[in-house]
């Protein structure tokens, strides 16, 4: 198992390297403006531009620049490790930018993840157990709504109703937990629910489907034949087998949101990592884009590894060598 994990970690590094390389190439093959111009600010002189090009290694072939990026990453820079360089916009260190944005996104994902996991599974189980009843139909109707309702619409509607009209929650924007815990929750509760809704719907349908399939298995009949209570049959035997796939996609869903919760972050003006990535793409801010992409790639690759290890842990039939 340890050898397996080690081998997977090496592969993870390869994957991350390739992702960063591709991002780099895309930015150099599709230039929509000169980065040096952006870095220099208003009305620069030709000499200033040449200096900036030289300092940013823009005058060298792209593989040399990529080499500098990799070297800088491993050795660190004046802002510490890993060295991610400076943003072209406003000369802010990328590391500092990410450190500032990351908690917003991480709190958003963590809260939403807890909500969708608990409610998604609970709704799915209820639906499966009360199959074809009114409860099941209402729950699956709700799931269809959750899957089809666009996040930006849900976000704006929820802000309008719960903040503007009812004054139940805080509005858009982010308040750090350490600054004012009550305001922190009050501002995050709507983004949590809105982001969770889509995943909750997916998880509810997945749980329902898996559980119904499991409840048709022979070993469920054996469990009943033993004289176990219906509760033990469903929860101990049915749910145990049907939650394995859910436990393994959960880390992946969380990880892909690290850079991918853009719409929620924008609608609620949370200015997290996804928002940062999209803004940086628009401003051709290569170092910031690379920083976010790198973080996202690391998260997804590690989540993948966690999911595989979790799978082996949950299902004794799966053993990696």
């Amino acid at each position: 198992m340890l050898i397996y994990i080690a081998r997977r970690l090496v592969w993870t590094l390869v994957v991350i390297f390739v992702v960063v390389l591709i991002t780099f190439v895309v930015f150099f093959k599709l230039p929509a403006g000169d980065p040096a111009l952006r870095f220099a600010g208003r009305s620069p002189t030709t000499a200033e531009l040449a200096l900036i090009r030289h300092r940013l290694h823009l005058d060298k072939p792209f593989y040399t620049e990529f080499g500098y990026f990799v070297k800088n990453f491993f050795t660190g820079d004046s802002n510490g490790w890993p060295g991610l360089g400076y943003s072209y916009e406003g000369d802010i260190p990328v590391l500092q930018e990410i450190e500032q944005r990351a908690p917003r996104t991480l709190f958003l994902i963590a809260g939403a993840g807890i909500i969708w996991l608990i409610f998604g599974v609970a709704i799915g189980v209820t639906s499966a157990v009360k199959r074809r009843s009114i409860v099941d139909r209402v729950a699956m109707g709700f799931a269809l709504f959750g899957i089809s309702a666009p996040v930006f619409w849900l976000g704006l509607m929820s802000l309008f109703i719960f903040w503007k009209e009812l004054h139940w929650t805080g509005g858009s924007g982010y308040v750090p937990l350490t600054q004012n815990p009550a305001a922190f929750f009050s501002h995050l509760i709507l983004p949590w629910i809105v982001l969770a809704l889509l995943f909750m719907a997916v998880y509810a349908r997945l749980t329902r489907g898996n559980l119904l399939e499991t409840l048709g298995e022979d070993y469920i009949r054996t469990a009943r034949a033993k004289g176990l209570s219906e509760r033990a049959v469903i929860f101990r035997h049915g749910l145990r087998a049907s939650l394995t796939p859910i436990a393994t996609i959960f880390p992946l869903d969380l990880a892909q949101l690290v850079g991918g919760a853009v719409i929620t972050e924008t609608v609620f003006n949370l200015q997290g990592l996804g928002w940062l990535a999209v803004n940086s793409v628009f401003t051709q801010d290569l170092p910031t884009v690379l920083g976010v992409v790198l973080l996202g790639a690391v998260c997804v690759a590690l989540a993948n590894l966690v999911a595989d290890i979790l799978y082996a842990f949950l299902d004794p039939r799966v053993r990696y060598a």
Partner: protein
């Protein structure tokens, strides 16, 4: 009925009918079935797939989903009609007084729990003992069904066992509470031929040691021949012939039973004289009129597709649902089937 080997009556099924309401219509899975099981006896229930042999026993276990199943008749277990029991009362009997072994030991054990835990869980379902005591009982039972190194094997998962060993585990699980009735639903069908005999022997040994009654469901008359004291032959959800095993094997009355005997390979019989039963079993959505077997029967005559034949009681107590006159049957048996099988 023969009194050979009779103990106290454990199970009495009276005029049992089971209907499934499906989208396509009502499926008449079991019709007017009656049989008796006594302590110390093995009742072999024989029939093709879809003959209702499993369904009737799932009804006994209370494992049919009553929301789309209609069950009529009575299933008396030690005098109580289990069909009238509430869910919770039935749960207390299930796995304790009536236990069941299923066909496919690969699919019948939970893949994610240790074998010992699954057995211990069966102990705890009906007995208020500590987890350790339940685990020890599990190990004891694994030993009793012949699993070597039982204490260590109890910590293994089902996929680490062979098919035969898994079926032993299933048998151990059924024996946890020393049941009165053990229902074995095709316990050897999914196993290697070499292992089949061992499992049948084990079931027979268990019947004696635990002093219970066994219902052995199978599509293979050969399986029944060794151990059964009585045989019930079913076709299309109906009883065709029912009587002491000895009489079924030496003087079967029903053409369907003959068909089963003729298609049964034995050591003496060469492959080319195995006679298949032509055709296939009828749809239970639209069962044929009269005797359900008449469309496939070589000996059918006028009354067969009219009234459904009742069960005729023969002088030796053996029951048979066929219109052929007894003299004709005797003649056919001696001339053809008996001669072929080497019994007269």
């Amino acid at each position: 009925m023969s009194e050979a080997g009779s103990g106290a009556t454990l199970l009495e099924v009276r005029d049992l009918s089971v209907r499934f309401r499906t989208r396509d219509g009502v499926v008449q899975a079991v019709s007017n079935l009656s049989y008796t099981l006594r302590r110390g006896e093995t009742l072999g229930i024989v029939g093709e797939s879809g003959s209702g042999k499993s369904v009737s026993n799932l009804a006994t276990m209370g494992l049919l989903n009553r929301s789309y199943t209609d069950i009529t008749g009575e299933i008396l277990f030690e005098g109580t009609d289990v069909l009238k029991l509430r869910q919770e009362q039935m749960r207390r009997i299930r796995g304790k007084d009536i236990a069941m072994i299923f066909q496919d030991p690969f699919a019948s054990l939970h893949p994610m729990y240790r074998v010992g835990k699954q057995l211990a869980e069966a102990v705890l379902a009906h007995e208020d003992v500590s987890r350790d005591a339940a685990w020890n009982r599990a190990v004891e039972l694994l030993e009793a069904v012949g699993i070597p190194n039982a204490r260590a094997r109890a910590r293994d998962y089902p996929h680490q066992f062979s098919g035969g060993m898994r079926q032993r585990v299933m048998i151990a699980m059924a024996l946890v509470h020393n049941p009165d009735v053990l229902i074995a639903d095709e316990p050897t069908t999914a196993l290697d031929v070499t292992v089949q005999a061992q499992i049948l022997e084990l079931i027979d040994r268990v019947k004696r040691e635990f002093d219970c009654g066994v219902i052995l469901i199978t599509h293979d008359l050969g399986v029944v021949a060794e151990t059964a004291s009585h045989v019930l032959v079913m076709y299309a959800g109906r009883p065709m012939e029912y009587g002491p095993a000895q009489e079924i094997f030496t003087g079967a009355q029903h053409p369907y039973t003959w068909g089963l005997l003729e298609s049964m390979p034995t050591v003496e019989k060469r492959l080319e004289i195995l006679v298949p039963i032509e055709g296939s079993p009828p749809s239970l959505l639209h069962p044929p009129s009269g005797c359900p077997f008449h469309p496939r029967c070589k000996y059918r005559f006028e009354p067969c597709d009219g009234e459904r034949p009742p069960l005729f009681r023969l002088p030796d107590g053996h029951l048979d649902a066929c219109y052929l006159p007894p003299e004709r049957k005797r003649e056919l048996w001696t001339k053809r089937i008996g001669a072929e099988l080497g019994v007269t």
